[in-house]
């Protein structure tokens, strides 16, 4: 992830539909902007502003949902502006309790049919693509799109590839997909415009468990190359054979 704070960017607050505002800390993905979003979202939740219903961080922004008949947009913007001025959010620390998780991953084959296509888009051979993807230690920047589903980054420059113009009808649970220097690991089968390059046996969302969401923002993940029979071995393990250690 880009290490330099985006000094050229001051946070902006914009309306999102009638019932939301978006506080953005950048227009491109950077580590300081991502940390700012995670920390500011927690701060908005703690502030307990009357009329705010929910807040959630995305990659470099915080979405604040509110009741527009109970809380004026102008009042909310003023409160959020004051909160923004409280501290240097770009210098905020990462969340507590982070973990490093190594997940067995099958690259390519019938299980992940778009590896060759994605490698070509990145200007890499298939072998070089597998080497880069499986060596990368990426961080959960946000959870979104589907339950417990992480956006992870940043990958090397070569992976700044666009989404497809058409949606893939569905990729399965555990699918690893790539675009714009990020990976997404799918928590449920869904359509996507990202390219399916790897497959894991990880179950990210466990609706009947006391801890339904496996990954949290700030966790770091490495998608270690594995053979298809490794996935078969771990088919009944919700962790999909993942090895977990605490980050201190």
């Amino acid at each position: 992830m880009t290490a330099e704070p985006p000094h050229f960017f001051s946070p902006v607050i914009r309306p999102a539909g009638l019932t939301g505002v978006l506080v953005s800390f950048g227009d491109i993905l950077s580590e300081p902007a991502n940390r700012a979003a995670l920390a500011f979202s927690a701060a908005v939740a703690r502030a307990g502003i009357d009329g705010v219903e929910e807040c959630a961080p995305s990659l470099v922004s915080v979405f604040v949902q509110f009741d527009p008949l109970h809380l004026d947009l102008e009042v909310l913007v003023a409160r959020l502006t004051a909160l923004l001025e409280d501290q240097d959010w770009y210098a905020a620390p990462m969340p507590e309790g982070r973990r490093f998780i190594r997940v067995p991953t099958v690259y390519g084959t019938d299980l992940a049919p778009q590896l060759a296509e994605a490698a070509a888009a990145a200007g890499l051979s298939v072998d070089a693509a597998i080497a880069q993807l499986s060596d990368a230690r990426v961080r959960v920047q946000t959870i979104g799109f589907a339950p417990g589903q992480p956006y992870l980054g940043l990958l090397p420059e070569a992976w700044d590839i666009p989404r497809q113009t058409a949606l893939t009808k569905a990729v399965p649970e555990g699918a690893l997909v790539v675009a714009i220097r990020q990976l997404v690991l799918f928590s449920v089968a869904n359509p996507t415009g990202w390219r399916h390059v790897g497959q894991t046996a990880l179950r990210l969302f466990r609706p009947d468990s006391d801890t339904p969401f496996f990954l949290r923002p700030g966790d770091e993940v490495q998608f270690v190359q594995a053979s298809p029979d490794v996935l078969t071995q771990h088919a009944d393990d919700p962790d999909g054979g993942a090895v977990i250690e605490a980050i201190r």
Binding site: R14, P15, A16, G17, L18, T19, G20, L22, S24, D27, I28, L29, S41, E53, E54, C55, A56, P57, S58, L59, V60, S61, F63, Q65, P68, L69, L73, T142, I143, G144, F145, A146, P147, G148, Q149, Y151, D160, P162, R163, Q164, T165, A166, L167, A179, I180, S187, V188, N190, G193, F205, P207, D208, P212, F213
Partner: protein, 339 residues
């Protein structure tokens, strides 16, 4: 056990309540009844809490049998319905004797019909709600053969109806600008507003594709923008320029740019647009959107007072006797009780 036995049911029919708020940060959208207005109408007709769960019927209904005397209400997209062969008025409440069969056919117009029961459908809550969230894999569509438990009914009148609404044929949907509206140039936005769209047949609880003649509606840098929060009503433009209206069960974030957001007050009309139905969009100022929201909430508040006794066909007095047996309260009496 008080229950509704499902003998036959439309594919994709689900148990729904108001959904689950508070899980957006974990990637779970609120979901809940696709048409929240229909949810509130059923609650008003049965004089019960709008938090109770109902059966959402996409496009058509099914055949259901009551294992005990039940009160029901039918709302949303009007469907042909009978109780042991006798016609049931839509947008109204009825008494269902033990063992009776409710047969709900296809939608005459609109998309989502609702079957409400006194006491609500009492399936297990997951993450605080009984709503199936198909996209998230929480619960599933209700299959034929299911037995849906029904909660204790505090009782009340039946034989009440609400005026039929006109939100089932598409029409004008009002928009406010989103934080990505500026990614679309003036010409594209103007053309979007001037275009008449038809709802694609492939719509679901996540969203609906909007078809039109002529070119797509591409944004500048459209395939490389950062994924950002989505709210219900957002109109996302995919890579090939096709608009998708995102609904309450949509993903929580997405990377395709959004040209604008349909205001909450017009979402019931949007979701009820039938396959092939036509919609067109109009930008409104924030103040107009707020006034529409105020009117909607005022309407929800007075719904119980808008319930009036059904004017009955003497040929169908059988039904009238049925509801007196259950509640001991006539429709007229309940009406005078007000809220």
């Amino acid at each position: 056990m008080r229950a509704l036995v499902v003998h036959r049911i439309a594919p994709g029919a689900t148990v729904q309540d108001r959904g689950r708020a508070g899980y957006r940060a974990f990637g779970v959208s609120q979901g809940g009844a696709a048409d929240p207005l229909a949810l509130a109408e059923g609650a008003a007709l049965l004089g019960q809490s709008p938090d109770l769960a109902v059966l959402e019927l996409p496009g058509s209904g099914g055949v259901f049998e009551a294992t005990a005397p039940l009160r029901i209400a039918l709302t949303g997209a009007p469907m042909r319905a009978t109780l042991d062969g006798a016609v049931l008025v839509w947008n109204a409440s009825h008494a269902v004797p033990e063992g009776a069969r409710i047969d709900i056919g296809g939608a005459v117009t609109g998309s989502y019909g609702y079957l409400h029961v006194g006491g609500g459908i009492d399936t297990d809550r997951r993450l605080g709600s009984r709503s199936a969230h198909l996209a998230a894999g929480i619960a599933a569509a209700v299959p034929a053969g299911a037995v849906l438990p029904v909660g204790a009914d505090t009782g009340g009148a039946v034989g009440l109806c609400l005026p039929q609404d006109n939100r089932f044929d598409g029409g004008i949907l009002r928009l406010v600008e989103s934080f990505q509206t500026g990614l679309f140039d003036r010409e594209t936005r103007d053309r979007f507003i001037a275009t008449s769209f038809s709802r694609d047949a492939r719509a679901n609880r996540m969203g609906m594709r909007l078809n039109s003649e002529g070119g797509g509606f591409a944004a500048r840098g459209g395939l490389n923008i950062l994924s950002e929060s989505i709210l219900p009503g957002d109109i996302q433009i995919t890579g090939d320029g096709t608009p998708y209206l995102l609904l309450r069960e949509s993903q929580t974030t997405g990377g395709y740019p959004r040209i604008a957001t349909v205001i909450p007050a017009d979402l019931p009309r949007a979701v009820q647009t039938p396959s092939g139905g036509r919609v067109q969009f109009r930008f409104v100022a924030r103040q107009e959107a707020l006034e529409a929201e105020m009117r909607l909430r005022a309407h929800l508040k007075v719904l119980p007072k808008l319930c009036t006794p059904l004017v009955r066909d003497p040929m169908q007095m059988r039904d009238l006797l049925g509801y007196q047996l259950i509640s001991g309260v006539t429709a007229g009496g309940a009406f005078e009780e007000g809220e």
